[in-house]
Amino acid sequence: MKRDLITSAIGVLVLTLLCGILYPLVITGVSQVAFPGNANGQQIKVNGKLVGSKIIGQQFATQVVKHGKPQVDKNGNPVTVPDPRYFQSRPSATVPPYNAAATAFSNLGPNSVATEQAIAANIQAYLALEKPYVPGLSAATVPVDAANSSASGIDPDISIANADIQAHRIAAVRHLPLTQVHQLISTYTHGRGLGFSGEPGVNVLQLNLALDRVTGGH
């Protein structure tokens, strides 16, 4: 018994040093040398200024300003409207949307009225933004990823179907030929892992950055 106590006390300390200090230090050290870009989150800089991470989604919206005052909600988060000059990311359940410092699921159940209402609201928002440019669009033709919130709340991707619908708005607002927008979409579409695992996705941040390079940003 006493022997076990001594061994256990030493054991947890030794294991902490080995697995809790040494191992993470080695992994982090090697990663910082071998893959510094990835290890630090694939940061994207424009003119030396950090604007995001390649694999973390963003909300492409602007804060509402009333009487010269930027509007905030009761929690102090900005009240926003989608910026029509940009491709829009998926609905996000974090507060505020695309909060990469506090990720969260929506946890909306499959048979809940709350879920139906949330999805219906997302569909309405999508139609309000896209229907002027795609007259035939209806709830039944809205891609599911545009109406359902993602898991992480910071999904960097949208589906190709979703991007293709938004392309019409982008082309009109930015005065670009539709074919050029489609070309940009395919440039920033990643395939499946090993050709079969997962689904293709369009990286929204990279696509929007490319648009800004073509026609100028804000």
């Binding site: 061994t7 947890v12 080995l18 697995c19 499959p110 048979n111 709350a114």
Partner: protein, 589 residues
């Protein structure tokens, strides 16, 4: 549904098999003291560790001594982890708390400590809003190794009890643990972590990144030493995410490739242990039979989940969405799923981590369809024997094997024996107790939490109707099975502000969950070790014509039948009230 979706599922089983067979042989060598290719590197550190720990690795332990060492080490681990988590700001001098997070309250910490100690990794806290890097590394990562190691030790001890011919000894716990960490967990974790960083996972100690995005809105991105913890989280079937959204977070699981890779990593050791068992028993077919049992049940679960999720949910259809496959989108129930994983990658991941005790998630299980969500329920109801957790899976299914042998023996009117050892009243009593403890703990805790207002306080506001019961039931089923996945709306920790200022835990849910996890982890371990001790001393009689074979398809069918029967008899009434009701109706609540 798509062809590539189905291909992913079947290819996955093939890849897991291909990885598990050599890994099983390797682990058999590790635990029988045969030579391995890492010996040259590791024999020195091994000897050094024995000297520091003051143990004699050659000294065999009977089941009681083995259990005593295991329990005392676990106790020490619990105390140290609780201390580290509660004194989070004390370690700020290391520079590993750049965001200045305070400790979570005592009740949440009780739950978290019990959770990581028992390989459950149930998380009421959000990693990036609660834990310092120091707590994640020196606290949680360590327990990821330790709890996985303990599970594997118990499995190895039970195997020795079943196949051994050397009297009462089950081996030496300290030696098994040291060899598990040095030969299996650490080297594989290093490899896996580096693959993950190569694919886009992060590994740094930076302050969170703050900046203004393209449209001028501010964004903050959480950072940290993610890859090292991610690797052992999956390999040790722990499942506790560095971030709140676990393997759905792009820094934990950046690509379609890593999604597949992570799933293989989760099943590698649980499946490998089955082949290890066959090799250590000197009867590989025994391992194949168990593997076949697991693979059949696994494939069944994966197919049901994929079909259900591809079909979409009643809420989607009520809102007017079309959930079929169209050009550029595979449709399906994308609520709480990531685009890069898609439906098949999410459904399969969910099955992989709920058949094992991993409990990592790459999608929101609470948002799965009724039937899709019933699959993880069913997996948990089978007491984690379909591959199961590292170690727990093997020792639990071996208990089922003994039970099946006993029932089979009764049917044909023979004295039941397994691998030549007679199964008698004492073993069967221990086996049945070992198998029923977990379901009893799950149902008892669920009943308590459903019937009391203190328990119902944890149900999320949006979970109306049967969803609220599903949330509660899943919470205690998951904690009792040491799984850790969640219908994550169920809460034990209110965080009004980021940085957990003014936050408080829900004492009832935290404590009930914590005790459920500890009880349902260590009671079955003791019963499994007792079975091992009871079998270890038995004489081996040669197989005769009348001996029931345990390595043919008939036995596989019998074993599946026993597992399904026990699971269904204990859980069916409760399952009916939650996920099955939701799966059978298009009604919204």
């Amino acid at each position: 549904m798509t062809f590539l979706g189905w291909l992913t599922i079947f290819l996955f089983v093939a890849v897991v098999t291909a990885v598990a067979i050599p890994l099983g042989s390797y682990m058999a060598a590790v635990y029988t003291g045969e030579r391995t290719f890492l010996d040259r590197l590791l024999l020195g550190p091994e000897r050094l560790l024995y000297r520091i720990l003051r143990v004699d690795p050659s000294k065999g332990q009977d089941w009681k001594a083995y259990a005593k060492s295991l329990i005392i080490l676990s106790l020490a681990g619990w105390l140290l982890l609780y201390f580290i988590l509660r004194t989070q700001t004390l370690w700020d001098f290391t520079g590993l708390n750049p965001m200045g997070f305070h400790s979570a309250p005592w009740n949440v910490t009780f739950n978290t400590t019990s959770s990581f100690l028992t390989n459950t990794n149930w998380q009421y806290y959000g990693g990036e809003t609660t834990m310092s890097y120091f707590s994640q590394m020196a606290g949680l990562t360590v327990q990821n190794f330790l709890s996985a190691g303990v599970g594997i030790c118990v499995a190895v001890a039970l195997v020795r009890g079943i196949v051994g011919r050397s009297g009462k000894s089950l081996g030496n716990f300290w030696s098994d643990l040291v060899r598990t960490v040095l030969w299996v967990l650490l080297p594989l974790s290093v490899l896996i972590a580096l693959v993950l960083v190569f694919q886009g996972s992060i590994a740094n100690f930076s302050h969170y990144l703050g900046f203004n995005g393209l449209t001028g809105l501010s964004q903050t991105i959480a950072m940290g030493p993610v890859a090292s913890q991610e690797a052992i989280k999956l390999l040790g079937t722990n499942g506790g995410g560095f971030f709140n959204t676990n393997s759905a977070h792009p820094f934990e699981n950046p690509t379609g490739f890593t999604n597949f890779f992570e799933m293989v990593v989760v099943l590698a050791i649980p499946a490998g242990l089955v082949f290890m068992y066959g090799k250590m028993a000197g009867k590989r077919r025994q391992g194949y039979a168990i593997f076949a049992t697991m693979a059949v049940m696994f494939l069944g679960a994966a197919c049901v989940a994929y079909v259900a999720e591809a079909h979409g949910s009643p809420a989607q259809h009520a809102a007017g969405l079309h959930t079929g496959v169209i050009a550029g989108s595979t449709g399906g129930n994308m609520e709480g799923k990531e685009q890069r994983f898609g439906i098949a990658g999410s459904a399969l991941f969910d099955v992989v981590t709920t058949v094992t005790s991993c409990g990592a998630v790459n999608s929101a299980i609470e948002s799965f369809t009724g039937i899709g969500g019933a699959v993880p329920f069913a997996n948990l109801s089978a007491s984690e024997v379909i591959f199961g957790g590292v170690g727990t899976g093997l020792y639990s299914i071996l208990l089922y094997v003994v039970l099946a042998v006993f029932l089979g023996g009764l049917m044909v009117g023979r004295t039941p024996e397994y691998l030549g050892k007679k199964i008698e009243a004492r073993e069967i009593k221990l086996v049945v107790l070992g198998l029923l403890i977990t379901p009893l703990a799950a149902l008892f805790s669920t009943a308590l939490a459903t019937a009391s207002s203190a328990g119902r306080a944890s149900i999320s506001a949006a979970a109306t109707g049967p969803q609220g019961f599903s949330e509660t039931f899943y919470a205690y089923l998951s904690q009792a099975n040491n799984n850790g996945s969640a219908f994550a709306g169920y809460t034990g920790f209110i965080q009004p502000n980021a940085g957990n200022v003014g936050s408080h835990g829900v004492t009832f849910a935290d404590l009930l969950g914590g005790f459920t996890m500890i009880f349902a982890r260590y009671a079955p371990i003791l019963f499994a070790l007792a079975v091992a001790g009871s079998l270890a001393g038995k004489r081996v009689s040669p197989a005769g014509l009348g001996t029931m074979r345990t390595d043919n398809p008939t036995f596989v069918v019998l074993l599946i039948g026993v597992i399904v029967l026990v699971g269904a008899l204990t859980f069916f009434p409760a399952l009916l009230l939650g996920p099955i009701v939701q799966g059978l109706t298009g009604h919204l609540y």
